[in-house]
Symmetry: C2
Subunit: 490 residues, 2 copies
């Protein structure tokens, strides 16, 4: 029996016959990321049913030198859960581990297996008049483990923070098969640096998240949605500051939309209506939210926010959604920008961030700079102004062949945009992570000290490099070794 | 010239003649921690004036094999900034680095050198109608660097989180003298796991924090302080849940005080008045806070919280402070518990936490258990119920000689309390850190996997062990090596 067969045999003993699949048909859907950018091969698809099975499997992989690609809903944006083409790694799916282990509605805490789907978590919380305050487009497939491993964001980060802020406790299987158990939620715990924080956002390169204790907050009682027409994104920044001072914790979302994006949405949808009569260069979509403790004050708060914004000359025009249907319609205009932009032809998209205070200036400066550097392109920036998170799309000139353009000029444009955002002190990955999509760009643009620490921690916790190889951690190019402790001369 | 003299000579060149002191008189105040529990010796007291000087000094220390004890205000609770008795380490004081580098009052962000004192930060923020939402007793000496390195807590954690939650950006000098620069505040940044988080709470064992960007929030506009009399700490838990649902984000503090502690305070102060007429077994001190956006609603909110608590039978009696003077008087009763308890004789004190949901049951079960195990002692638990953070004091029997008792029976009691809190899944250090005070207890009670990861990260980032040796990271006892990657056989 070959060494590989020995491993598969032993793994089947650990997981049971249905826990390890090697046939091409079963594996196929999990070998390509959902955006269709990356396709790999795998030795097997392992689906453990418990943390103990994960731990036993990891030990087995270690003793056989088999690499592991952890996978949740396979709906990540950066290819972080897709194996490479070698076919020597296994995919370790957490999807069979999908139980709610504990739910304390009084305390507002829920302990979930890593494979619980975000939508299920939402529904479970809502049934007890609670709310899990993070949501995103892929909620029907995204798992808790994947959301933690990528420190996922979404549309409520302004008020509630990203996934990191929701995690009260964590369980993970480390590269040696030991189980790191920090599931018990302690609001204060200073027994050394917080190891949970290392695993959050580590994309499965340091350990495999198997469960988490998450915070829940009181259910949403009501919301108010405003749409404002503005002359510039700089005015949007002023309106954001005003809304923050005025509404404080009630401010849950603040999105900005340029005229061109709104026009694209309106052109492609028969149902869509512009919220305001006249044309405005920029638009802001503002959501205020209230739970039971603050719901009585919400109508007056939103009305006076609107009035004070007019009085202060911060808006050209503005309106408050008169019903929840209208509020949804406003949000649909925002959510349809991506599809509408795609309808206009090929584009390269960038998930970038700069300091919140600088986003308006960044967009104002960078849009014309990109269009000038790549004649015929159209640059569009929109998104989470309150988080400094810009969706920066650059559309191809109309005469380009899509596929060629994306792989040729498109890549040059992305490097240009990443150079700009780095010069502004920003991040080339605001919320989608690095995965395999941006690993080379991180290597190219990352601060050498930052990269060195990433590599040092990776080597310390996964010395054999078996956890999600080829993802996130840029390969060591020798430059770092000159700084690394092992290489110094005294 | 000896190797040590060579080092001192070179360090003086880096720091200037006033930047390196070796005379006993200058060093003396910094060789003993402020609680007077630990005294050490040092080769020199280094006071760099810039991050570049810190980096140059660290490189010099590394090439000479000199250990470094970073120190801020020297007001830590666990001896984390006090050198050992060998006299071979230098103290690296950050106190000369005390500039505000950048202050963006619109964005609510401030970038401070590590040596800026908390009180100065408070005053700087207040001058711009902003607030830094963390405070504690040592605010006149505690530095930003020390607060970050210990992930300090305080009385506002319930609403605003500990120091970790305030840090938006960080700069640190690593063990090889490289400068980790992540000062630019990005609300969303997923370029790998968040290295800032590793340094927060690492007590100077992984790097030396030299600056930070911190968040500021709108100034406090008003507060309401309630005092409630209760039959049991279990009822306090019910009242906490009610207050959380009722007041939401307005709830800023929830402290519990047993009858005995209040009696001790009243007995020792001529000015102190009991807030309520009758005797109650337990008391809750509740603070609601409002900024400009929510201040109008505060009087009605606090009044109806009081009324609804009566209606629901959650309190035996309760009162709302009628003035800010009375509110301060309520808080003084809480703050005087420590001194009043000390006036009653020797006691061992414990800074422990359990899950918030379990604190009432923990106290109810553990107080009699400790008193039964150590006849004649009196156990008192009070503190931050909203954070699950118990101050657990055990007073000596009246016939004991203080010094002998603390070092003999007192230590046995501490081990007993730590065993109990560990059995409840809690932490032996809620907010004071490990330092040298609790390092052996962490070694004894820490989860082996947790300890192994602490050691692995420490070895990776400080392979020579020169950063704050003897603090936080338990010495490797060989047990861990059996698990460690380097030691395995394939």
């Amino acid at each position: 029996m070959s060494r590989t067969d020995e491993f598969l045999d032993a793994a089947t003993k650990v997981l049971g016959p249905r826990g390890l699949m090697t046939d091409a048909e079963t594996m196929s859907p999990w070998l390509t990321d959902w955006r269709g950018r990356f396709t790999g091969q795998a030795l097997a698809l392992a689906s453990p049913a418990s943390t103990a099975q994960v731990a036993a499997l990891v030990k087995l992989c270690r003793s056989h030198g088999i690499a592991i690609v952890p996978q949740g809903g396979n709906s990540g944006m950066s290819g972080g859960a897709t194996p490479d083409k070698s076919g020597t790694a296994i995919i370790l799916s957490l999807r069979q581990m999908n139980s709610i282990r504990r739910f304390d509605s009084d305390a507002g805490e829920i302990t979930c297996d890593a494979g619980v789907i975000l939508q299920t978590l939402h529904e479970t919380a809502e049934a007890q008049h609670l709310r899990f305050p993070l949501t995103l487009g892929g909620k029907g497939s995204a798992t808790i483990g994947g959301l933690i491993s990528t420190n996922a964001g979404g549309t409520q980060v302004l008020r509630h923070g990203s996934m990191r802020a929701q995690v009260m406790g964590l369980e993970a299987v480390m590269a040696d098969g030991s189980v790191f158990d920090a599931l018990i939620p302690l609001k204060k715990d200073n027994r050394g640096f917080d190891l949970k924080q290392l695993l959050i956002g580590s994309e499965g390169t340091l350990g495999i998240v198997t469960a988490a204790t998450l915070r829940l907050i009181p259910a949403l009682a009501d919301r108010a949605v405003l749409w404002a027409g503005l002359d510039s994104i700089r005015d949007a920044r002023k309106l954001l500051l005003h809304a923050q001072r005025f509404a404080g914790d009630a401010l849950e979302g603040f999105e900005v939309i340029p005229h061109d994006s709104l026009r694209a949405v309106l052109a492609q949808s028969a149902q869509a209506r512009p919220p305001l009569a006249a044309k405005h260069e920029w638009h802001a979509l503002i959501e205020l939210a209230a739970d039971a403790s603050s719901v009585d004050a919400l109508p007056a708060l939103s009305q006076s926010l609107l009035e004070s914004a007019f009085e202060a000359g911060l808006v050209e025009d503005a309106t408050l959604a008169a019903s929840d249907t209208q509020a949804e319609a406003f949000w649909t205009l925002r959510d349809e920008i991506g599809p509408a932009e795609r309808g206009l032809g090929p584009a390269v998209q960038h998930d970038i961030s700069v300091p919140v205070a600088d986003m308006a200036e960044f967009v104002t400066a960078t849009v014309p700079k990109v269009e000038a550097a790549f004649p015929g392109t159209r640059a569009i920036a929109f998104g989470h102004l309150g988080d400094g998170n810009v969706h920066f799309h650059v559309r191809a000139p109309s005469d380009e062949e899509p596929r060629n353009w994306e792989h040729g000029k498109g890549k040059a444009i992305s490097r240009f945009v990443h150079d700009e955002v780095t010069a502004w002190g920003g991040s080339i990955s605001a919320e989608h992570g690095i995965g395999q999509l941006k690993r080379d760009e991180l290597a190219r643009l990352g601060d050498p000290v930052h990269l060195q620490i990433l590599r040092q921690v990776k080597r310390a916790l996964d010395p054999d490099g078996l956890l999600n190889p080829g993802k996130l951690i840029p390969a060591d190019d020798g430059r770092a070794h000159a700084l690394a402790p092992g290489a110094r001369t005294q």
